[in-house]
Symmetry: D2
Subunit: 171 residues, 4 copies
Amino acid sequence: MVIYVVTTGGTIEKVYSEQTGEVTNLDSKIDRYLRLLRLPDTDVKIVPLMNIDSLRMTDSDRARVLETVEGLLKEKAPILITHGTDTMVETGLYLDRALTKPEAPIVFTGAMAPLGFEGSDALQNLTESLLALRLLAPGIYIVSHNQVFPITNVRKDKTLGRFVKIEEKSG
Amino acid sequence: MVIYVVTTGGTIEKVYSEQTGEVTNLDSKIDRYLRLLRLPDTDVKIVPLMNIDSLRMTDSDRARVLETVEGLLKEKAPILITHGTDTMVETGLYLDRALTKPEAPIVFTGAMAPLGFEGSDALQNLTESLLALRLLAPGIYIVSHNQVFPITNVRKDKTLGRFVKIEEKSG
Amino acid sequence: MVIYVVTTGGTIEKVYSEQTGEVTNLDSKIDRYLRLLRLPDTDVKIVPLMNIDSLRMTDSDRARVLETVEGLLKEKAPILITHGTDTMVETGLYLDRALTKPEAPIVFTGAMAPLGFEGSDALQNLTESLLALRLLAPGIYIVSHNQVFPITNVRKDKTLGRFVKIEEKSG
Amino acid sequence: MVIYVVTTGGTIEKVYSEQTGEVTNLDSKIDRYLRLLRLPDTDVKIVPLMNIDSLRMTDSDRARVLETVEGLLKEKAPILITHGTDTMVETGLYLDRALTKPEAPIVFTGAMAPLGFEGSDALQNLTESLLALRLLAPGIYIVSHNQVFPITNVRKDKTLGRFVKIEEKSG
């Protein structure tokens, strides 16, 4: 089974720069970590779209994400979009408004700490998302920390450092 | 949400003995690795039942697994059973015959290499299984390597080192 | 044998903040990583002195390092000082000027990437430094990347991202 | 600086076989782990000699080790020999009897748990040994767990799971 992974950057892909001491979006590294997983029946096709902090994502960037997703949906294959958590909901809702009836599940995921950093949630979220794409009905979701949220009922709780349902009390 | 994790041993929990140089089932270590995951909305309750190589599992052991599962099913919480891969299908079918209509999903998982060994699939399988229990309908399944198999349509392919659908060609 | 580890911060101890996305000196973590090493005959005593970026280290901070080292030298036990690499040489020379004849080896080490980050050199440098303290004659040194430098013949090469002898060509 | 690494097998290089569930000497993996270290000024040359459990090492095998070491000593480069811990002392003394005055340091190291297994001491011992070869006078040593033992004053304490000086009380 084919699964598309559209990468847009965000914390999940950030790297530590030994020159500057900063953590930034430089090189895509999703593929390197996906190789740590055993996916014998899953044909992962990575589509590296952009590599930016999601706070810098513009409507023009979101239009590119939409255009890419629309193209891939023609194949009815599930789509994973890796994305910064800060504006993940915004991009998800942008797609939700434009795609009236997607014919495959679309999952957004990201991370609070980059792939390969101690205590990171990034590989967990990738692993969960790939499995979720096997089981979810068509629609747009966020998958993270062993939770699945339909895109219309989720927000990031900055204090808790995770996603919660819209109606949940703030952390 | 509560998820029960019934541990029975198998490769996933094996440890390397520095005294003997062998890899055996000595101490439960599922809990130590589950702590590496972020599970803010999941209340994992571990039920350490036995810690044996699944090739040594007897019908009396399987009866204990069944009895435990029957007890937990009363709470209608999803159940993860960690188990050796060699007789996982056998135990799954044993449960399938006895439980006519389970009211929650029951997922079996295990690993080809123990938790904490280089290149191990164990944490991946645990992560996937916990997510699958969020989404699956009541029934008995094996979850491994980004695949979900209903228990009545799965066998272990020893050559490939993984589970496959019954009808699939041998590796 | 007793070895003192005086921690002053620097990249080696930096942590990733999920709130700010920055890498900063917040909590000491040397002890957590030293516990990964087997040190049956080494009694490591950690002295957490400060936790700052070495570019912010003042002469007053260096005076505190010196005072601490002078106190510990009375026991003639080897001393490891973990320190940011940017001004490690400066602090080392400061000690060198003040300590006319130390009666034990004093080793400075640090890292280009923090402990626990993918590809980090931090645990390697700690491991090497503890071993070096077993073998070195009294004096002040930098140990890093399988090299031992007397403090009077070493500089950081920013381009190469490592220490080199003073006479070596720039990277 | 050139350092030769002569690999002979032992626990340090053992791998877990997913087919048999056993831990055995199959493929050399020292090189893969040495690549995790930063060794800018060290030219490591690996000499894969054999890959066996040291309990199976015969006098004929020891003669091959000796012959190899004699050849390398002509270059006066330090030599690291990775070796099973059970008969490491025996092989070391074999070399000690034959080499009247080696002109470079020769360090034996190994591990209680294989490279890449949780809690392994293997990478620590490799890191320490490479640094020790920088500092030690010509002679034959065992380096392990932050200790350096001249070959004529060391034995393995099976109960403690480590090397100790000959005169030390048993664990």
